[in-house]
């Protein structure tokens, strides 16, 4: 390699660096304005007490908002519900999505496109519209679900599907699952279609077919896709808001409260902006920890 070539490479590298910086600037500006600055003020605000109508009257309270959160039973209910939604979403959306994808990939011969389209369709409807559709289905007086159950002689919950604190969170999970499973299915199906046919042929010679082939061949081969699917589901489950807000508004009696709706309640209904900031910071920390774990897992994969 002669001197000219070295210079040329050196020039080219530094030019790349400049290009990278220039290309990153718009994204950095947007991130700074819409993420970093609000996050910074949320952290600062979490140490103060102030309301929506007293934004210029901040009172320093130190860690009081965090101590209050630790003693707030509804915060713990909201946090517990978020974790329930995370785990249930992974089982329902990624689990069922994987099964559906496997069936579409290798289980059926005809109508794959039609089934894929039907299952994916709820994904293109807005979450609010989906929630309203399910409100009508769950309605205790005229809802189709109760009518079907009554028609076949089965009991219906006397407090209603969304009015019973013991089952309402699961009813919300079904709605979220109904909308998002199709997306997971398409994602995983893309991964499945990338698995070479020869691998299955070789496995068949070794005696691995059907469920055995799915367990020992398919799942390990799509591990990366599954990790991405779990990552998307976890993040989605932690920021869940619209399903809960439209279906139950966190009720009955806070039984379906999640951090998103509880932060909203504290900030905009009860006007505790400082406390809402502290809750947001806690949510941010949880999201960062989960994100770090997921990232580590995906790198290992």
């Amino acid at each position: 390699m002669n001197k000219t070539q070295i210079n040329s490479i050196g020039f080219s590298l530094s030019s790349d660096r400049v290009s990278v910086i220039i290309l990153l600037i718009p994204a950095l500006i947007f991130c700074t304005v819409f993420i970093f600055i609000p996050a910074f003020w949320a952290i600062v605000g979490s140490f103060y007490s102030y309301g929506m109508t007293s934004l210029n009257d901040w009172k320093w309270v130190g860690f009081d908002n965090y101590i209050k959160a630790s003693q707030d039973e509804f915060f713990w209910i909201a946090l517990k519900n978020n974790f329930i939604i995370v785990f249930a979403s992974i089982v329902l959306q990624v689990g069922v999505g994987t099964i559906l994808a496997a069936i579409l990939d290798r289980g059926i011969k005809y109508g794959k496109v039609i089934f894929r389209t039907i299952i994916f369709t709820p994904m293109v409807i807005s979450s609010v519209a989906v929630s309203i559709i399910w409100l009508l289905i769950y309605d205790p007086n005229f809802g189709i679900l109760n009518n079907i159950l009554k028609a076949i002689g089965l009991p219906t919950p006397t407090m209603g599907w969304l009015g019973d604190p013991d089952i309402s969170i699961w009813m919300i999970m079904i709605v979220a699952g109904w909308q998002n499973t199709g997306f997971m299915m398409v994602l995983i199906l893309a991964g499945l279609q990338g698995v070479s046919k020869e691998v299955y042929d070789a496995a068949e010679i070794d005696g691995a077919t059907g469920v055995k082939a799915f367990w020992y061949i398919t799942l390990p081969m799509i591990r990366n896709i599954l990790i991405v699917a779990i990552l998307i589901t976890t993040i989605g489950a932690f920021k869940v808001f619209e399903f809960v807000y439209v279906l139950t508004q966190g009720g009955p009696s806070n039984a379906t409260q999640v951090l998103g709706t509880y932060i909203y309640l504290q900030a905009f209904n009860l006007l505790h902006m400082g406390y809402a900031n502290a809750l947001s910071v806690i949510l941010l920390i949880i999201a960062l920890i989960l994100g770090w774990f997921q990232l580590k897992a995906s790198r290992r994969a």
């Binding site: 109508t53 934004l55 409100l135 007086n141 006397t158 209603g160 009015g163 604190p165 009955p252 905009f268």
Partner: protein, 427 residues
Amino acid sequence: MKYYFSRIWAGILITLLSFSFTSSSYAIDIKLWDLSARQGQDEFYELLKKEVKKYNPDINVIVTEWENEAYKTQIQLALNGDDGPDVFFNWFGEDSARLARAGLALDLTPYADMEGGYGNFISKGWQDAGAVDGKIYGVANKAVSKYFYYDPAFFDQHNLSVPTTFGELIDTCKSIKAIDSSIVPWPMGNSERWKLNHVITMLNQRVVGAENTKADYALTAPDDELFTNPKYVEAWEKVVELNENCFNDAPNATNPELTRSMFAAQISPMMYCGTWCGGIFASEGFTDFKMFRFPRVEGGADDGTVGFLVAEGMQVSAKTKHPEAAALVASINVSDIMALADAELRGSLISNAALIDQMEDAPHWFTFYVNDIADKSAHVNVLDVLLEANVSNAYLDMGTEVLNGTKSPQEAMDFIRKVALEAKAAM
């Protein structure tokens, strides 16, 4: 070609200059925010714009309409910013008083008697609806109340009479169920929590009474007395009684709009609904309904003459650059012409009540509301507007719990008292 372009540029320049001369010198833009989805709103605001120009031709009223829930959040954010409305809708009570105390609402007292000022149009009593510590922070243009609506054909057919006491109300519910157990006597849709809150507002009034609730509602009662009156528990016990005899199953999962349709479709013969409901029932094809007041409770503190009434109106932002123009817009909103238009176009129960007689073809329910409100001895504001935000939320939550049977009336009051004590300590 060059000549052609220079002519275009000259044209643009002249247009821009003429705009700047005609609009920038004197034009005053007043941004007005109101709730949307009201019948006749467009015509109403077109008329307001014209009426305002009669007093000051330089004022341009720019109306923005909002959905109910979005508005509650947006207005608070906007008033803290620099680009909020000059004039805005609000519910009068704690919501409007909080903005006044925070310095976000303008004191309108000095503008009452100016030319076109609200003092020329509405009575002292209505002016006081927007008062906080003796100063006027809002101009009330209308009010909402609540009544029992019933189907007189059904009542006549089954020889049912209009209940005048709570006991008779429960008996009526029982009689309706005895006629057909599948009929819901009084559909209750509490999925948004406020519906039962309006019922407990009236039960507190009927059972506990205004004198006994005053200090508790204002959080000024001594700590050892705050919300300890056993009558509050008795009011919740009435809710349990209603739930057992009158309401549908799963009220906490039932949408309030659906219950309105149940009555309008004559599936249910009775319901408790606001003064906005008469027009809704009519729009759904049912006009032959009648109304009666929330009945008195036997042994209760009031005789049944106190009614539910929430005043609504316009406040002016303390940050407005044109306080006088904004106050004028809020005032013209209650002028004789606008009040009459409000009643006719939007079906509002207007604060400028002397004009009701001039209304053409007023529907029978509207005449009933007006006469009944005038006949009441006093009014009570709804708890979710009246109470401090945390206590209000506790009342809303406890409504859900009591209906579900997950908390007893005593447990509900214990919880409300705990929240009230915390709220009082934080004040």
